[in-house]
């Protein structure tokens, strides 16, 4: 299809292959390392769950013991496989005995890597079956009750109380929402463990726990059957427990996951090495289970200017795409992020934004782009805010966005109230329907404001990618090229959880999940 913005395919290809090289060179670093969270993820997939008597999750108990025993470079899978051989117990029983102080797996006789690997294989297969069953169930729902039309209406719930969240989520689905994202409580991303059980006391969001996932999944399946539309569930595979949450999500059939190492680095001050390593395993899981991931480029525009920094968003999308390719994620699962954050006082801001949104659509034609609403320039003037959201919705339907995170008129005030969500759904539905075919109907003036804007942003992004390739991703981040935020390679949270693998390290899931050797 011809580019309506007259984008040069050669520039696109050049940017894309440059991003590919950036991702590959980072992958070399990633492949050499593992992290505590990555290892806890292996345990979770092997069925280790629950908490000890001081509420420490058992995956943490086990990995902490392995780490303390100096065994992390070999990977948790080995130690569990070995413990199974030596004790005859299953992984959960091993973890429980460790929590009870009755077993020290670091002190057992050590079998060979091959024997340990063989020992856990049946359990690995069982885990994969479980995930496949969930994926099949999603497909079954989609085939039977169907789904909403794109752009999907994506709203958040954030009461802090999972039971209250359920009420609000079901209400939202009845009003027309297609995707429910349960926002996490403030600062969960900085916890180096995943809390356990149903929770009722978050700040500005609700804890991501496996039980909470389960409760919400059930509620959405129920309401989805009621309204005759599969309702997708979204959460955050992000922060210090990135891959663990990906695994929990795979098991509980989450459909969408916010997942982006750069977000953690820039906005949560998480160490870049740690989170890039974690991101890899999390994406492998996400790819495997058919979840859509959302990257966090939209956030750059909350700290940097949407007009000035537009090319950083595009550059980051290219990189995120290539990281996803390496994790064997299909384009149809790549929810690359961007956002409507132009200053509303900018003359012709609507045209610039429209040009950029169409550009993203043309460059990533099959990706389920995630489009974020105005947040930065929202104020307590809810009436003005509601029309900022209306223009955002107009651009979304025009440029064919896929995941439309609905703007709330109360964005600058509080996390959404029941009525805010209803009004925002009404807003989107009205505009999507009323302007449905606009994208097909209009064309853009040759060398007009819009064509030039898109061509310029693409050119700048390509330039930035070449700079990053020359400089290396780590050092680019250190220089503050994304979101205007600088982070040191050895700073931030979680670096202590990183270690170099030894030669007999193995992660039993990755090869299967990639569908081949890796």
């Amino acid at each position: 299809m011809k580019s309506k913005l007259n984008l040069d395919p050669k520039v696109i290809d050049s940017a894309r292959s440059c991003a590919g090289r950036i991702a590959e060179s980072m992958q070399i670093f990633i492949d050499r390392h593992t992290t505590v969270s990555t290892e806890r993820t292996v345990l979770r997939l092997l069925g280790v769950d629950g908490v000890d008597d001081v509420d420490t999750p058992l995956p943490n108990v086990v990995v902490d013991a392995i780490k303390d025993g100096g065994g992390l470079p070999r990977g948790a899978a080995y130690w569990i496989g070995n413990a199974m051989i030596q004790t005859g117990l299953d992984p959960q029983a091993i973890a429980e005995k460790m929590a009870a102080g009755e077993l020290d797996i670091m002190k057992l006789t050590m079998a060979s890597k091959e024997d340990a690997e063989a020992k856990i294989l049946p359990i690995v297969n069982k885990a994969l079956e479980k995930i496949k069953a969930q994926t099949a169930k999603r497909e079954d729902y989609l085939a039977t009750i169907g789904e909403g039309r794109k752009p999907y209406l994506y709203v958040i719930v954030a009461t802090g109380n999972i039971y209250e969240d359920v009420v609000q989520a079901q209400a939202a689905a009845r009003q027309g929402a297609d995707i429910i994202a349960v926002i996490r409580t403030t600062a969960q991303s900085l916890l180096d463990y995943v809390p356990y059980g149903p929770t009722t006391e978050g700040f500005g969001g609700t804890y991501a726990t496996q039980e909470n996932f389960r409760l919400m999944r059930k509620a959405l399946d129920e309401v989805g059957e009621e309204v005759g539309r599969y309702i997708r569930l979204c959460n955050y595979s992000s922060g210090l427990c990135m891959p663990e949450i990906a695994a929990m999500g795979a098991i509980e059939r989450l459909d969408v996951m916010l997942n982006d190492a750069l977000y953690g680095i820039l906005f949560r001050d998480i160490n870049m090495q740690r989170t890039l390593i974690d991101q890899y395993f999390s994406r492998v899981i996400i790819g495997y289970c058919g979840t859509i991931f959302n990257s966090g480029e939209d956030n750059y525009l909350t700290t940097d200017d949407a007009y000035e920094a537009a090319h950083t968003v595009l550059a980051s999308q290219f990189i995120n795409e290539q990281f996803a390719v390496l994790a064997n994620i299909k384009e149809e699962q790549m929810g690359l992020g961007h956002a409507f954050e132009m200053d509303p006082d900018l003359e012709n801001g609507f045209l610039y934004e429209l040009a950029q949104a169409i550009m993203a659509r043309e460059i990533f034609p099959k990706a389920p782009l995630k489009y974020m609403p105005p947040t930065k320039y929202m104020t307590g003037n809810i009436f003005k805010g509601h029309i900022q959201d209306a223009l955002f919705n107009m651009i979304a339907v025009w440029s064919g966005q896929s995941l439309q995170l609905l703007g709330m008129l109360t964005e600058a005030i509080h996390t959404p109230h029941l009525q805010d969500r209803m009004l925002s759904i009404e807003n989107a539905k009205y505009i999507f329907n009323n302007a449905r075919a606009i994208g097909e109907e209009v064309e853009y003036k040759q060398d007009g404001i819009m064509q030039k804007r898109a061509q310029f942003v693409l050119a700048e992004a390509e330039k930035l990618l070449h700079e990053i390739e020359a400089e290396g991703l780590f050092s680019t981040i250190e220089k503050g090229k994304f979101g205007g935020v600088k982070r040191p390679k050895d700073g931030g949270k979680g670096l202590a959880g990183v270690c170099v693998k030894d030669d007999s390290y193995f992660n039993p899931f990755i090869p299967f999940m990639l569908g081949g050797e890796k």
Binding site: V51, V54, D55, T56, P57, N60, A158, T159, N161, Y163, E164, V166, V167, Q168, Y193, P195, Y196, G197, P198, T199, T200, E201, Y207, T209, T379, G380, N381, I382, F383, A412, I413, H414, T415, P416, H417, L418
Partner: protein, 259 residues
């Protein structure tokens, strides 16, 4: 939270219908949105005035989330937590009490129970020129795929249109021997509709036909309660269809033995 403490699983509170409060995102949080203008100059003092007012209204933790200078006036958007409650369980609303029949049922009802044509005269009376509402009820075409009274076999619908003086309306009703008068009132500024509706009811009393005719008013700001206060037999608000009115008239005719 302690090192790894998670939270206790207490379910959401359920609503107490005897003590209902507004709901923002948690039961009984009382959250409300207000907007209004005060005739005071913009500034911190204006915001304070808005908050004082909100507190007097029973709003806890009032927050002025937006205020705007309107030169001598200040506009506010304010959120607060309402402390008043309502006993929903005891609310009784006076509603038009009738089982609504659809058009075909109405027609059957006339054939079986009234056995003569029913005559209905309607108008937008006084100075009101908004005919869309009364047309929606009376004209063939109706509204939202609900045919109007003109379409009903057994009903003779006389729509006099807009700006009809009450005297003229009554004269017509007498002339055609109407079973019911329908009067539409859309403009309510400075309560013109109250004055006009009262005048119509009084004129009918004076003419001695009040008891012989079913008197009905309607319009977006009309409620059955208001209609009854004004001495009407029924009042219909927004989203009314011809069948709602027809059902009421026909059952009244039978009830009052006007057959």
């Amino acid at each position: 939270m302690g090192s790894h403490t998670t939270h206790s699983a207490c379910e959401t509170t359920t609503v107490d219908l005897t003590n209902v409060k507004p709901y923002g995102d948690t039961m009984n949080d009382g959250m409300m949105q207000l907007s209004f203008t005060l005739p005071v100059p913009y500034g911190e003092e204006a915001n304070e005035a808005a908050k004082i007012l909100a507190r007097k209204m029973g709003l806890d933790e009032p927050a002025v989330v937006f205020s705007k200078d309107m030169v001598g006036f200040t506009y506010f958007v304010l959120y607060g937590k309402c402390q008043h409650t309502v006993d929903y369980s005891t609310i009784k609303v006076t509603k038009v009490e009738v089982d609504v029949m659809d058009r075909l049922e109405c027609e059957k009802y006339i054939t079986e129970n009234i056995k003569r044509p029913v005559v209905i005269v309607g108008a937008c009376s006084g100075t009101d020129a908004h005919t869309v509402g009364i047309d929606a009820i009376m004209n063939m075409k109706g509204f939202h795929e609900h045919f109007g009274l003109e379409r009903y076999h057994g009903i003779e619908a006389v729509n006099m249109g807009s700006q009809v003086p009450n005297e003229v309306l009554i004269a017509k009703a007498i002339e055609v021997n109407a079973d019911a008068i329908l009067v539409s009132q859309i403009v309510t500024q400075k309560d013109v509709h109250i004055a006009n509706l009262t005048n119509l009811a009084e004129l009918m009393e004076a003419e001695g036909i009040r008891d012989k005719v079913i008197l009905i008013c309607g319009g977006p700001r009309i409620s059955h309660e208001l209609a009854q206060e004004l001495g009407y037999d029924a009042g219909f608000g927004a989203h009314t269809y011809a069948e709602d009115v027809a059902s009421f008239i026909l059952t009244e005719i039978v009830k009052r033995k006007m057959v």
